[in-house]
């Protein structure tokens, strides 16, 4: 039993095994993303009823909320990967971090951007200092910090260790940061925008949102897996199985 677990663990550390396993998942996630995003977009943009207060501008929600959720999930994913990488010295975790870091940055930027575009009609300004906005902004800085760190280290193995360490430390801090920022917000500002309390949305509004969220996550899975696979091919370029795989692709 223990031995079997150990073998599985070992397998997980093998890029080759991972590569073979994911070839199915990549296409599944790709198609799922396409489906969900299409359905969600059409439903949300064309069929969901307009908000009685905000009119049509609320439809930014279908991008904003999934982006904001994904931004946090990806960072936590990186932190977990960092922890595993540091403790068990698994190569794949750094591949994961390398693959999800740019996506995380882009998605966080998207959340910030869509939020401030939304803020223009609803708040009357591009930017307000509020708990959610600040913690997203700080999340963006955490991403940028790790990015800058990775850029600064040439050696692959050391880059992996350093970014794993900081992703981990950052993740430990995320709940603290989130909590404190929200606390600060309630103290300093009346919750004027109702970001925290769930609006009693009709289901025609939130169902498409759910589909969009699923679509964003599927897309993220697709992008991350694809990037990971490319990175594995790159890093394992001299290994025999890579050559065989490429030859196999050529043959088709």
């Amino acid at each position: 039993m223990l031995a079997a677990l150990k073998r599985l663990w070992h397998k997980l550390g093998s890029p080759r095994w991972f590569f073979a396993l994911t070839s199915f998942w990549v296409s599944l996630l790709g198609w799922a993303a396409l489906l969900f995003l299409l359905v969600g977009a059409v439903w949300g943009l064309a069929f969901a009823p307009a908000d009685y207060q905000q009119g049509n501008s609320f439809r930014i929600m279908y991008v904003h909320v999934p982006a904001a959720m994904l931004a946090q999930s990806l960072y936590i994913g990186m932190g977990v990967a960092g922890f595993i990488g540091l403790v068990w010295r698994m190569k794949l975790t750094d591949v994961f971090i390398a693959a999800s870091l740019p996506l995380g940055m882009v998605v966080t930027a998207l959340a910030l951007f869509s939020g401030s575009v939304w803020g223009r009609p609803t708040w009357g300004s591009w930017w307000e200092w509020d708990g959610r906005t600040v913690s997203t902004l700080v999340l963006f800085f955490l991403y940028v910090g790790i990015y800058a760190l990775r850029e600064a280290i040439a050696d692959m193995q050391l880059r992996a260790r350093a970014s794993a360490l900081l992703a981990m430390v950052g993740t430990v801090n995320i709940p603290i940061i989130k909590y404190s920022v929200e606390w600060w917000n309630t103290l300093h500002q009346p919750a004027s925008f109702g970001l925290t309390q769930k609006p009693a949305m009709p289901s025609e509004m939130w169902l498409p949102l759910l589909v969009m969220v699923l679509g964003f996550y599927a897309l993220a899975g697709f992008v991350v897996l694809t990037r990971m696979r490319a990175e594995i091919l790159h890093r394992e370029g001299s290994a025999r199985w890579v050559g065989e795989w490429i030859a196999g692709r050529r043959a088709i």
Binding site: D155, M156, Q157, S238, R240
Partner: protein, 197 residues
């Protein structure tokens, strides 16, 4: 004192030298030779625990490590530096022993000067005193003769000889053979062919 088992250090994923297998016992002096860039410094750093990219394995005991950079604090005097090192090792040293060591390496007159105000060779002499004062048996020395004048080079050889005679072991990377009769040489050679499978 230490054993290497098919040890091969790596930099950026590149194997530096043909795998080494070696056992070093108390009393041995090993001279580590090899062309520039053959991996001598990297091997010593690996044994010191400062480099973790390698294949194969090794076993070793806590060691004194002397790299290209000396590790003296500019703002402290030699005596203070040596006291600090002793503290780090968990030992306590009497001032007398420290001054004796500084005398032996010929730097006693500067014992209470700041290390910043010393020439390259004078700082090296302080570092030599550090090896002598350590309780550790294994010394890992990377080009210890650098910047030493003729007289101090002889002192270095003598110190190393005495250390080996008293049951220590020394591995010393150098391009300038030391004046010792009883030595093992270990030459690093590039890995002949990449193990392309």
């Amino acid at each position: 004192m230490f054993t290497l088992n098919q040890l091969c250090c790596e930099r950026d994923g590149r194997d530096l030298f043909a795998p080494l297998t070696l056992g070093v016992a108390a009393g041995d002096y090993v001279e580590l030779l090899g062309a520039n860039g053959s991996g001598k410094s990297t091997l010593l750093r690996t044994l010191a625990g400062l480099h973790s990219q390698f294949s194969g394995s090794y076993e070793t005991v806590p060691a004194v490590y002397q790299g290209h950079r000396l590790g003296l604090d500019d703002l402290l005097t030699p005596v203070e530096n040596l006291l600090w090192f002793a503290g780090l090792e968990g030992a306590t040293l009497s001032l007398d022993r420290i001054l004796d060591a500084l005398q032996e390496t010929g730097i006693l007159t500067e014992a209470y000067d700041n290390c910043a105000a010393m020439s390259a060779g004078q700082q090296r002499r302080v570092a030599m005193a550090r090896w002598m004062l350590s309780q550790r048996k294994l010394w890992l020395l990377d080009e210890p003769l650098t910047a030493l004048d003729i007289e101090a080079q002889a002192v270095a050889s003598r110190i190393i000889k005495e250390h080996c005679a008293s049951g220590g072991a020394v591995i010393c990377a150098t391009h300038q053979p030391l004046d010792l009769t009883d030595k093992t040489t270990l030459t690093l050679t590039p890995q002949l062919a990449e193990t392309a499978s």
